[in-house]
Amino acid sequence: MSVHVSTLQARISGESTASSPLSTEEYFVNMGPQHPSTHGVLRLVLRLDGETVREVVPVLGYIHRGIEKMGEHGNYRQFVHLVDRMDYLSALANNWAVTMVVEKAAKMETTERIQAIRTLVCELQRIQSHLLWWGVFGMDLGGFTPFFYGLREREQICDIFEKTIGARLTMNYIQPGGVMFDIHPEFVKDVKAFISYLKPKLVEYDALVTDNVIIQERIRGIGKLSAERAIALGATGPVLRASGVAHDLRKSEPYGVYSQLDFDVPVGKDGDCWDRYWVRMEEMRQSVRMIEQLIDNIPEGKTFMVKPAAKIKVPAGVHYSHLETARGILGVLLVSDGKEAPYRIHCRTPNFNNLWCIGEMATGGRMGDLVAMLSSIDIVVPDIDR
C-alpha cells in the first residue's frame, strides 16, 4: 500500500530534466488566476522548455464555492438557482438537469408544452453560448471584431429571454414540475424574427472568420486530441465530437422533445482546434434547424404541474440523470434519504472533464498556441470549481 499525499509546492518544484549540455533548462511559468485569456480565474502552471510546453498543471479552486455542500442544506427548489451560477452560459440547461433528476425520482408528470418550451429555450441558449464563445475565441486569437459581432447577436437572444423569463443570464426558469412562466405572447414572433436575422449572419461569420486564411493557418493542426484519449479523459460535448465521436445525448438518449426533431450531430475528423471551431459553428446551424421545426408547433397545455410552493419529496435512493449542455454532459447525482433536502447532491460538470484535455493537447506544443487550445475547449471556470 502506498498512499502519499502531495502538495502543489512539491508538484511544481521538480528537478530539471535537462539531459545534455546543449539542452535548455526547463522552467515554470505561472499563468493566472488573473489572466485575460483563462476565462475567469483558472490558473495554469506551465513547465516550459524554451517555447515548448512540457507539462500543464491546472490549479483549481479560485472560485470553489461549495455548491454541493450548500445543496445539502436546502430543498430541491433552492438548489435549482444555485446551478445557474455554475455554467452561467448554459443556465437553462443546468436548471433542466436538476429538474430532470428530481422529476424522474419523484415521478412528477409534465406536459408536452413544458417539454417543448424547455427544448426551445435551451436551444436558444446553446446558440447564445456558442455566439459568445465565437466572439471570445476571436478575441483570444487577437481579432477584436468577432467579439462585437457575437455579442451583438447575443443581445437579441437576451432580449427574447428577458421578455419571457425576466433575466438575461441566470434564469432559474425551468423548475421541478414545469417552467416558471408561460412564454410571452410575442415570444414566437421574436424568435422567428431572430432566426431570420441570424441565418445570414452565420454566413457572414464564415466569410469573416471561418474562411479566413489567417484563422485557418492559426488553428489547423494544433491541439490534437484523439478519439480514444478524449473518451479516456472523459471529454464530452463539442470537444469529444470534434475528435470524431458522434456522442450526443440529444440523439442517443433523447430527452425533452428532441426525439421528434430532425437534426444532425456534427462530427470532426482530427480533433484539432479547427475541428472544435467547426463543430460549434455547425451546432449553431443545427440549433437553428431545431428551433425552426419547433417554433410553430408548441403544443397547448399547462406550464406548471404542481403549485410553486409545493414541497417535493424524493424517495430514498440514488438517482442520476444527465443531459447535453452547450459544453457537454451535465449529470446530476442525487442521493436522497426521503427527506425534503437531498442527502448528497453531486454535479458531473462538462467543463471539469474537458479541462484535463488541455494537458494532452498542449504537451509538446508551442506556448503561443496554448491560448487558442484553451479557448477552443470553451471553458467556464465556475463550472469546474462549483
Binding site: V3, H4, T7, G331, H346
Partner: protein
Amino acid sequence: MDALNLIAAVQALQPDAKVREQTDQPTLIVPAHALVALARQLRDDPTLRFDLLETHTAVDWLDEDRFELLYLLASVPLGHHLTLSVSIDRDEPVVPTLCEVYPIAQWLEREVYDMFGILYDNHPDLRRLFLEDDWVGFPLRKDYEDDFMLERPE
C-alpha cells in the same frame, strides 16, 4: 444491453457483486479489492465496453459509519450505463485507484480526496484539488465543522 442482462453479465465476471437496491440505474456493490480488476474487464469486454467513467463521487453515510463510493460508467459505442458502488470503513478510508483504467479518475479521485478525505492507494498525484494544501478537514463529510460557515436563519 438492458439492465437485467447487464447485471447478469457483470456478475458472471465478478460473482461477489451484489445488486444495490433503490437506484434508477443498474448498480452493483463490489468489494474494494476487486474494483480495479473488474473495471478493467468491464472496459475491455467487447460486449460491455464501458469506456467512459462519467463521474465518480462519494457519499458519507455517517450513521452506518461508512463511505459509499460511486463509479458511474457509461459506454459511448453501446450506450448503456452501470454504477459500481464500493463501501469502505469510515475510520480507514483507503481504496485502490482507478487511474490506470480510466485516466480521468486521477482528477475525480483528487476531488473526492479533497472533499471526503478518501485515500487512494497508488494514486500518482494525490493532493487537494479545490482547497489550499493546508486546509483542515474535509468539507463534504457530514461531521465537518467550520466556524466560518453561517447557518441560514429560519
